[in-house]
C-alpha cells in the first residue's frame, strides 16, 4: 500500500485514528526513530511483520508495531541498528502495555500506549553536563 493509502472503512473512529497518528508523530519527534503501525492480517506471523519492516522506506530507523486482531498476535520489529537504544526487554514491556488494552478490544489505545512506552525508552535526553571542557 503506498503512503497514506487506506482501503475501505477505517477500523477506528476518526478521533482514534488522529490520536494514533499524533502519538506516532510525537514518538518520532521525541526519539528520532520512525514509528509505524500496521493493523491487519499477518499470514506468517512474525515473519510477515519482519518482511513488512524490510519494505518500509528506512528500515534501519523504523520501529514497526504490527497487530493481527484475528489471531490476537502482536509483533514489534526493530532493526539491528536500533536494538541498542530500544532493547528487546523494552519491547516486551510495550507488548504488555498494549496487550492489556487489546484484551478489552481497544486496539487504537493499545498501540498508542505502547508507542509512548517505546518512544519514552528510546528517547535520548540531551546531555547538559559532560566531562569535556566547554
Amino acid at each position: 500500500m503506498p503512503a497514506g493509502d487506506r482501503v475501505g472503512p477505517l477500523p477506528f473512529s476518526l478521533a482514534q485514528y488522529a490520536g494514533l497518528e499524533r502519538a506516532l508523530a510525537r514518538a518520532e519527534q521525541a526519539s528520532g526513530l520512525h514509528f509505524t503501525a500496521y493493523i491487519g492480517e499477518l499470514p506468517e506471523g512474525r515473519a510477515s511483520a519482519v518482511a513488512l519492516h524490510r519494505h518500509v522506506a528506512d528500515p534501519a530507523t523504523c520501529v514497526l508495531v504490527a497487530v493481527d486482531p484475528d489471531r490476537r498476535l502482536l509483533e514489534i520489529v526493530t532493526s539491528a541498528e536500533i536494538r541498542e537504544r530500544l532493547s528487546d526487554r523494552v519491547c516486551r514491556l510495550a507488548c504488555l502495555t498494549m496487550t492489556s488494552r487489546f484484551v478489552i478490544g481497544d486496539i487504537a489505545a493499545g498501540i498508542r500506549d505502547g508507542v509512548i512506552v517505546l518512544a519514552d525508552h528510546a528517547r535520548q535526553p540531551v546531555t547538559l553536563h559532560t566531562d569535556e571542557p566547554g
Binding site: 477500523p11 491487519g40 506471523g45 502482536l74 539491528a80 519491547c91 498494549m98
Partner: protein, 115 residues
C-alpha cells in the same frame, strides 16, 4: 390560556401525564445509548476483524499485501523468528495477557505477544 390549565381537556391531561414522562425517559435513554452509537464500529475481542489492512505513518515501495507475502522461506522457520502456536482457541492455550516472548538474537529485534 390559563383556563386551559384550570380545566384541562383529556388530551392535555394525557400529554401531561404520559407525554412529559415519555419525553424524559427518551432523553435519558438517548444520553445512555448515544456513546454506544459512536462506538458502533468498535471491534470487540472474539469478533472477526473485517477491515482492510491499515498501515499508519509508513511509506512502502510496494503493495502491503505483496510486502507481507515477501517472506524468505528461511524466515518462516528460522530460530530467530519463533512462531507461537496458532490454535483456534488461543485463550485455552495461552492465558490472557501472556505469551510474550523474546525474539531474534541476530538481525531484527523486538518482541512478540499474544493476548
Amino acid at each position: 390560556m390559563l383556563a386551559v390549565f384550570d380545566h384541562p381537556s383529556a388530551l392535555i391531561q394525557i400529554l401531561t401525564l404520559i407525554g412529559i414522562p415519555l419525553l424524559i425517559v427518551a432523553a435519558i435513554a438517548l444520553m445512555v445509548l448515544m456513546p454506544g452509537w459512536t462506538r458502533a464500529g468498535r471491534w470487540r475481542p472474539g469478533q472477526p476483524w473485517e477491515h482492510d489492512p491499515v498501515l499508519i505513518n509508513a511509506e512502502l515501495a510496494r503493495d502491503v499485501t505483496q510486502a507481507l507475502a515477501d517472506v524468505p522461506e528461511a524466515d518462516v522457520t528460522a530460530p530467530g523468528h519463533p512462531q507461537l502456536p496458532v490454535t483456534a482457541d488461543v485463550t485455552a492455550v495461552v492465558p490472557a495477557v501472556s505469551g510474550i516472548v523474546e525474539v531474534a538474537q541476530g538481525g531484527e529485534g523486538g518482541a512478540s505477544a499474544r493476548w
